[in-house]
Amino acid sequence: MGANAKKRREPAMSGASSSTASRQQKIQAAAPKRAGGPNRIVLGAVLAVVAIIAIVAGVIVSTRGGSGGAITSHALPPGVSTMGGGLQANNTVTLVKGAPTLDLYEDFQCPICHEFEKLFGAQIRSQASAGKVKLNYHVLNFLDSRSPNESSTRAALGAFCAADQGKFEAYHDQVYANQPQQEGAGWTDAQLKSYAQNVGLNTSTWQTCVKDKKYQKYLDAVQQQAAKGGVTGTPTIKLNGKIIDLQGLTPASLDKAIADATK
């Protein structure tokens, strides 16, 4: 072994004079040195705790800043039986025996929902008014992020307030008929109010309902319920709880599906 090797080896066994102290000195001298600095384990633990506190605090602050605050109304629009449940548009119609439940998940800003309504809307309505299906609307607002003015939410609140006066579907159709060419442009407050006028609502009652955000909590609950039900986009259609594949759906196949689901 050369001098180099000896130099690099820990001289643990060298020398006859090894008292424990000097042996330890030599071990420490030869051991790879961490240049001072705070104890890593303690620092790491502190950092982990601070990080977790920061994350939890961030979540709490973000969720509180949502639609909390002064909105206290837990009211449900007519046609809704549970908080977060769908709005049954034909709740005044007597259903035929064994009528299946048809759940429509739509966002007012969604162009594909508009397409769906154009293709299947009338058919679904006539089935509903004949009592052949229990028709539930679930209004989603995830496209709020596509517009600068939370148009999905505002249109939804307008529609629920229209439901107060028995005009949910009429208002719903007005909004879709006036979907902007450019997705994300949304609607102004004035436009939403004009739809209320168009369907013959008492606008001051409607306006108060909207301004007070009477159905905001209900709308929020609908989002949670929809997510729990695995709905990740719109339009989503469920027949008796099962999602219908929209690929290749035709008016005839939809009629057949509804008939088949009628027990």
Partner: protein
């Protein structure tokens, strides 16, 4: 014994640490800015963040929701730590795991033909299809970011970092 300022490697050769350290710094900057930005844009919209996780159809809502709610803040915290170079190696390990999770998530969505990040997406047939999602570029981007964080796992030393200030 050498008398130069440069560190000596095990086999006695002299290697300048400058270039790899500089790479480390660049990696930290890119990762830090990317993560902080990604966290900030989601930070005010935790419900949307959770819905985005749900859209990958891996977890039910009960699990997707907490993941989605925590993810933005987690990204910000990791981004800050890697940016300042504090506990670089462990943080880089966590970040690498994050990229791997994203890559796996996007890849399985791609393979299953899910359509995500298209706003509202419709089926084909009687309806017009939604936009085509850009899975390939998302995966490519995350692979690139994974390479950067993997570098820092392998070699956490970099210029201008708190690790360096504390521990040299």
């Amino acid at each position: 014994m050498t008398t130069t300022q440069e560190p000596v490697t095990r086999d006695g050769s002299r290697v300048s640490p400058r270039v790899p350290d500089a790479i480390g710094l660049v990696a930290r900057l890119v990762l830090g800015v990317t993560l902080i930005y990604a966290g900030l844009i989601k930070a005010g919209h935790l419900l949307d963040s959770a819905r985005a996780v749900l859209a990958y159809q891996i977890f039910p809502w009960e699990i997707a929701k907490p993941i989605g709610y925590v993810l933005p803040m987690l990204e910000i915290v990791l981004g800050v730590l890697i940016l300042v170079g504090f506990f670089t190696r462990p943080v880089a390990v966590i970040i690498s795991l994050l990229w791997i999770a994203f890559i796996l998530g996007i890849s399985q969505a791609w393979m299953r033909g899910l359509q995500i990040d298209c706003g509202c997406f419709g089926g084909g047939g009687a309806l017009t299809a939604g936009e085509k999602p850009g899975y390939f570029w998302e995966v490519a981007r995350d692979v690139g970011l994974l390479l950067l964080s993997a570098w820092l796992v392998w070699r956490p030393r970099s210029l201008v970092s708190i690790d360096k200030a504390l521990y040299g």
